[in-house]
């Protein structure tokens, strides 16, 4: 009940700050456009004046992609048929869980790092906004909040990164040792498959868990103006461990909504033929709506968690 009540409060609060969500969406769009421009030119140069362009407008020319892939370098390497629909989401899920994002081309990695730092900066503004009595989004106050908490949040980012990567590296090492034996002893490919899947799920839920704990650390910093970042982290862990059902319940409720939205998006996106301008525009609109909703959900998560923290405290 606590979960749903605070979820509802968070939902209302986020609804009142749609302009803030819009700002975050624009930031995301802006970052993406910076890399989309060179990609656009690469594609245009590759098939723009060829008949391949017609085929790519109609569908996907696999032969062209083979050529493009074989000759591509840097950013272009990220273009593949698997960016279509569900592939885009699955690529990212795999990139995150199996830490394959390290193999992404440097421009994407740099942009990703900058985006995470910026997200750290903006998180202060988001939580500051949700901590106001009147939930009216004001740009100045938002950035004031962002600036106020930035260095503490940055320290949180460093701590979480160190903990996460160390933990994942240890787990990965251990898992590889286990897998060597599993593969040797297995009678079929099915056992290693389940081991792999299980390991991926452990990593994924660990990542989500850490995100949640550090969310509460951020919330504590904003609500209680905490300066001792490391101590706050420990207290955030304590908070989550003392109230696992509420905190995890709320987190996974929003996580499930995100999964549902993602499935809905995939279904919708894959049913659009995209062979004509109007369809391409419709598909683009749906894509942006999807991203907007994902960002909206992130804000909803902050807002609901803040409400839950207040409630449980």
């Amino acid at each position: 009940m606590k979960v749903f009540m605070n979820f509802a409060k968070g939902f209302i609060n986020t609804g009142k700050t749609t302009r803030m969500v819009l700002l975050l969406f624009v930031v995301n769009l802006f970052f993406s456009i910076i890399l989309a421009l060179p990609m656009y030119h690469s594609l245009k140069d590759s098939f723009g004046s060829s008949k391949v362009g017609d085929r790519m407008a109609e569908g996907f020319d696999y032969l062209w992609w083979q050529e493009f892939r074989d000759e591509s370098q840097g950013l272009e390497r990220t273009f593949s048929p698997s960016i279509l629909g569900k592939g885009a989401i699955l690529n990212n899920l795999e990139g995150l869980i199996q830490m394959r994002f390290f193999r992404l081309p440097l421009p994407v990695l740099i942009m990703g790092l900058l985006y995470i730092i910026l997200h750290t900066f903006l998180a202060g503004g988001i939580l500051f906004t949700f901590n106001q009595d009147t939930l009216k989004f004001k740009m100045k106050k938002f950035f004031n909040g962002s600036g106020t908490y930035f260095f503490r949040f940055l320290l949180l980012l460093l701590i979480s990164s160190v903990i996460l990567f160390t933990l994942v590296a240890i787990l990965d090492y251990g898992f590889n040792l286990i897998m060597d034996n599993v593969q040797k002893d297995s009678l079929s490919e099915i056992t290693p498959f389940y081991y792999n899947l299980g390991f991926s799920m452990i990593i994924f839920f660990l990542l989500l868990f850490f995100q949640m704990v550090f969310d509460y650390a951020r919330i504590k910093i904003v609500l209680e103006d905490r300066r001792d970042v490391l101590k706050t982290v420990f207290q955030a862990f304590g908070f989550v461990f003392r109230r696992p059902f509420s905190t995890l319940g709320l987190y996974y409720l929003i996580f499930l909504i995100q999964v549902a939205i993602t499935i809905g998006y995939i279904f919708l996106k894959e049913s659009i033929p995209q062979s004509d301008w109007p369809f391409v525009l419709v598909a683009f609109f749906i894509q942006q709506l999807f991203i907007f909703l994902i960002i909206w959900l992130r804000c909803l998560l902050y807002s609901s968690q803040m409400e839950l923290y207040r409630y449980l405290k």
Binding site: F79, N92, E94, F214, V280
Partner: protein
Amino acid sequence: MKKNVYKEARLAKKIPALIFLLLFISIPFFTSPDEPLCKQIANYTMDVKLDTEQKLIKATEFLSWTNDTDISTQVLWFHLYWNAFQNNMSTFLTEGARRGRSVPGFKKDDWGFCRVNSIKVIQNPYFDDYDLFPLMEFRHPDDLNIFDQTVFSVKLAQPVEPGQTILLSIEFESKIPRPISRTGVYRDYYFIAQWFPKIGVFEDGEWNCHQYHSSSEYYADYGTYDVKITLPSSFIVGATGEHREKIDNTDGTTSHYFFQQSVHDFAWTASPSFLEYKEDFEFAPGKTTEITLLLQPYHKHLKERYMNAVKNAIKYCSLFYGDYPYTTSTCVDPAYNSRSGGMEYPTFFTGGAYFLTWKGMSRPEGVTIHEFGHGYFYGLVGSNEFENPWMDEGFTSFLDTEVYYAAYGEPLYNRMYFGIPVTFKKVKIPIESDGIASHRRTYNMDDMQRFAWKFMEGGSYGANSYAKAELMLRTLKRFMGEELFAKMIKDYSQRHWFKHPRPKDFYAVVSEYAEQDMSWFLDQLVYGSGKLDYAIGSIRSQRERKPRGWFDGEYRERAENTSNNTLYRSEVTVRRLGEVKIPVDMLIVFEDGMEVKETWDGMYRWEKFTYTHTSRIKEAIIDPEFKLVLDLNRTNNSMKRKPNTLAPLKWVSNWMLWLQHALEFFTILGG
């Protein structure tokens, strides 16, 4: 008296040998109700016992070999392939290590070998056998590697004259290796291939008997295999040829009798875990073969997919390359970790499957068709895989895609996520894509015609032997015309069944059907490493200049422009960016819909085509019917005057979604 007793004793001792000899000689003629399909040159009768405790094979091999050449020989050469796995210094493993194939953690019992204990000439049962064992000599014809014992020779007391047959009795034992490549034992799964002393091919006055190399396969003469395999009764057995009899012995073992004429190898498998399925399949009116499928229990749900793949392979291969002549075909689903998947032996082959597979994915069908298909260009057409690997692997790669696409259509692009294959229904894989990527990466490393172990690297061996040869055949098919090519390839196949064709034989058949010497075409691809890349260099359309100025003393002013008489001078520049020269078609399309077709011989590096017409050029395409499948850059084969503006925007927006999601998603890493 004493002497007579001695003689009688000797004779009595020889009686079993005499009976055997008579039986053995008669095998090719009386054992099968059918006539052999070809000359039976190397005939093997083997009595094999599998010791599952020791992982050992003990066997007696009776070999009758006929010198089918015009030259006599006093030496016999043999393969002992399994000695490639007896230490890490063999040629196979030395080459393999250079290519990243290692044998980590091999213990004493993991190594495998084939040891000949005796090798006797059965000249005449009344006289002592002539034992060649002391004369055995290991040979290293390819690399002088003294540690390699995969080839040996024996010197005979008397030469084997042309047409003469020699009979040998060979005792050998083979220690079954832990699987390194293609063969071995893994748990209770035995895959036994290249496991017995096998005579080389005597041709042109010398022995063609190469060492076992990391990237080479095999070459042998045709004959009859009559093999008795005795092993624990719990084992299900599959092998080359007909499973004629199964006799349970009193000691808990069972003897399985396999027989096959007109093949050049014999392999077998055994495991108590196999699920065995048999079906008679009528692939053409009145023509039936028995399919045996030996499936791993965890792939039971793939039974129909495997079975249908074998049926499609038999049906379409019979149609394209001649009716399948054998009465059996056995497909083995290899055990996990056995490294025996995707290999071919006469009437017997291994597939390969992953327990998760969906409609539209080419596994297990692709590999099943490929390995069955080897039955044609390795099995029936006895190509020399050591020396002309493309004549088997390339032809079979061509065969498998032709059969796959005929039977199943275009497969879907798929990718594995967390071990789960995901298909992309909007991305179909066209037949022309098969092999082109690997050819693009390695086209200038080697010529296609190289001995299998002499390619610069494993990738080049694969790309040239499999991919380039397939692409060459597909190009040839479209260049000659599909109907003519279909007749040609079927004729080439059937004409060389049970023979050992060389590249020149293929050239001859192609030239015969094309009614011209096709060396100019084939030489560039078989013995060359040039690139095939035609491109549209530029297209221009400008208003035709009106005469203006002094002409023969008469001054002309600029003529009035009217919409009716506007003429455009258009120019198309085509370029040959690679070294390979093949005449190529062109299609020029004008804005008013008029089409002009041209043919360019491609001899010089470029050519310009000019037109004067009432409308501008819309687009120019070189090779519009996509005949030249070997063309490494297909994108530059066409040019439009007005580029498509939708496509890059459409695709960049799709890509951008991935990026936007990635940026947002990876913030999880920030905690």
